[in-house]
Symmetry: C2
Subunit: 208 residues, 2 copies
């Protein structure tokens, strides 16, 4: 449960992250990881105990600093809509940067096989929702936002839009002519982020 991984452990986790994201947890063998990380197959059990525990370590390794980032955002002196926009920007940038682990979480989360690994992640989600509620309430108080907003359905729209784009990357790469990693990342950071911000803004200020 600790965070003090040594250099070799981190290298193993990075390779595991890449392969799990590409081929899934069950689709990746310890031998795959060992080969790519250039280590002996026994090292995974030696360092992490088991393949399953390695996944747990990976989740902890990658999601430990999200909490802090969000709390800092809440403290800032900004208008509610500005905060929402910054929150979206933060989420998209962060998930885009760590797309590997989020793809894994996305996958393993919906799988009935591994429920144990994700309890700590559920806590993160609950805390994030409370933050969002607070911001939106603020915006409703000062008349910026509409009254009839189902806050619980905002995160699925933000995250869902982004994930769906990310998971269908090959399709959008072709459709938008984004041949390089740079151009794809640039599109995500600019166009897609703005689209999500625009969507949420329209939703928040829209009165039926």
């Amino acid at each position: 449960m600790t965070l003090d991984f040594n250099d070799k452990q981190i290298r193993i986790l990075q390779v595991a992250e890449k392969l799990f994201a590409e081929k899934g947890f069950d689709g990746t063998s310890i031998r795959n990881i060992s080969k790519e990380a250039k280590i002996n197959i026994a090292m995974v059990s030696y360092y992490f105990g088991s393949k399953e525990k390695m996944l747990e370590s990976l989740i902890i390794f990658r999601t430990s600093d999200l909490k802090m980032q969000l709390e800092n955002l809440l403290k800032e002196a900004l208008a509610p809509l500005e905060k929402i926009n910054k929150l979206i920007e933060l989420y998209v940038a962060r998930i885009n940067k760590n797309k590997g682990i989020y793809q894994i979480l996305h996958f393993e989360l919906s799988s009935k096989k591994r429920q144990t690994n994700i309890k700590s992640f559920t806590e993160v989600k609950k805390r994030n929702l409370e933050s969002l509620k607070q911001i939106i309430h603020e915006g409703q108080e000062n008349g910026d936002f509409a009254k009839d907003i189902n806050v619980l359905l905002i995160p699925p729209t933000i995250l869902g839009t982004f994930f769906h784009f990310q998971m269908n990357r090959p399709y959008y790469e072709e459709a938008l002519g984004l041949k390089t990693d740079e151009s794809f990342d640039s599109y995500v950071h600019n166009d897609l982020t703005k689209h999500i911000q625009k969507t949420i803004k329209a939703l928040l200020i829209y009165e039926k």
Copy 2:
């Protein structure tokens, strides 16, 4: 490539669909399927050739009638916004009804392991986008919709929102107190569908 599956084949596909959706393609063994479907393990190879080819058969079996449904919608004499709302309703209901196969597609789509199975599905997506473009153009012509709409980013918002909700089902079940399958389905058909419709409407009529 044909669609004439006999009763036994269909039963096998139904069990496979359920297990693949629950545990993933790699997480499900032919023995798992055989046991649940109460057949001999050799029957999968006998009927479909291989596990991989069975997945192909399953995709064909479940996605063959989507095309027709969409074409019928386009023909209807409705205002653009009405068509959009119906399209959202159709998508949500359809995917919710066949959540198994769409969950499988969602995963295998983003996996680098099985690219061959999904080519026909890409074609479906392209055709659907053209339909959407047509409807939105119609709405822009008669002044209902804003001019600066990136049509390509609409489907990720519709499908992404829905999928994210579906993939985090345990979380939303708890948060919304949806204890039975019926109450969950009801929430999807009513509240979630309306949320997506509202979101897309706000986005389409919103002028920056």
